[in-house]
């Protein structure tokens, strides 16, 4: 058949004639369809360049936040997407990276220092000073009590083995460097990071 009529045209043939006239007659024309159905959510957002800190690809991410860092505003991150300039990720992200917003906003984020007293079954909120004072006191007491200046063979060893530390796998080099510096100044040796797991 030579006459090409698509389904919709066919549908219209039957309808349009009747409809157009009658609509006009009934004085009712189609109300305008809203153009872009949703408001564009990035308009006016502050964009911050960052890096995903899950795996070691180190993808570039853009953090979109409300507020322009003016003094009277507390910025609020509300969208995360890939940084197209990044030579490795070129804007793409994996399911973890694409979900970063829910990590930043997770209900499981901790908001204030807490302590669980010996034998207790609950967390107790405390202030930073109390927390840090108590921790420092614990550390000093343990160090003073168990510091090894020398070993049985008379070697000077100046080590502290009874308190240990695990360093983060996602913390910055700056944090890591400061941690290393502090830990070694205390003579701590039971010190490790997540390289193995």
């Amino acid at each position: 058949m030579t006459l090409q009529v698509t389904r919709r045209q066919f549908f219209k043939l039957g309808a349009t004639g009747l409809a157009t006239s009658s609509m006009a007659m009934m004085g009712f024309a189609p109300e305008p369809a809203v153009a872009s159905v949703r408001h564009f959510k990035l308009t006016g957002a502050k964009i911050t360049r960052s890096n995903c800190t899950y795996c070691s690809v180190g993808c570039g991410v853009l953090l979109y936040s409300r507020g322009d860092a003016a003094i009277n505003v507390v910025d609020d991150i509300y969208h995360v997407e890939g940084d197209p300039d990044h030579p490795v990720s070129r804007g793409s992200l994996c399911p973890k990276g694409a979900g970063l917003l829910d990590y930043v906003k997770s209900d499981s984020r901790l908001r204030y220092p807490q302590v669980r007293e010996a034998g207790s079954n609950e967390w107790k909120r405390i202030g930073w000073d109390e927390a840090l004072d108590r921790i420092a006191r614990h550390m000093k007491d343990d160090r003073d009590a168990n510091f090894e200046a020398d070993d049985d063979d008379g070697n000077i060893v100046n080590r502290w083995t009874t308190t240990g530390m695990l360093a983060a796998s996602a913390s910055t080099n700056e944090t890591a460097y400061l941690t290393q510096k502090v830990v070694r100044s205390l003579g701590m040796v039971a010190f490790d990071n997540q390289a193995r797991v």
Binding site: A15, L18, A19, S22, M23, M26, F28
Partner: protein, 231 residues
Amino acid sequence: MSLAKSDPSLQRYSVWNRLNHWLVAISFVLLVLSGLPFFHPFFWSLTALFGGPTMTRILHPWIGLFMTLMFLFMAIAFFRESLIRRRDIQWLRQIRDVLANRDDKLPPVGKNNAGQKLVYWIMLGCIALLLISGLLIWQPYFAGAVPITLRRLASLGHAGVAFLAILTLIIHVYSGIWVKGSFQAMVRGRVSWAWARHHHDLWYEEEREKARKHRAISSRHDTPTNRQESP
């Protein structure tokens, strides 16, 4: 006094019949008005009558259920007199005479003529189908659980059957207007003996017979005085 007086003295529809009929009629009209917008955008503005498109979508099925129920009562009430007889076939054969008002040529007619009976049966069928297909595409309750092909079939069926029902309605309403006295019959429930004899001669005979028997029974206790006034 005489039955010939053309004042409607003959009971055709009881109060209950009439109420029932008009409840069905009104809900049917509402259904048409609320259904047409989904039938074709041409009728979209009708949704305004029901408080907007979404409300129309919500109301239509409920009105439908109500009408179905009402219709059920009516169907039971009118069942016997709607059974098709041989003479009805003959009547239908002569539908030309009917339309041309050559009533003298027509075969005898009982309480309902073949046309009325057809309306009864067509509506009965349509409403049954509308109910079933309607349930199958009812959002948000049942549609979700219905296989897609069946839903498509039901949508199509609902529309088609509704179309048939609407045509039937138009004929039914027109007949009411066309046949003088029948509209009044459904409003006030009474017709004149003459009207009955013209349109439903068999029924007229039945009713006359009833009336005679009635008088016979009552005459035994009649006093001369009141006998004087009886025919």
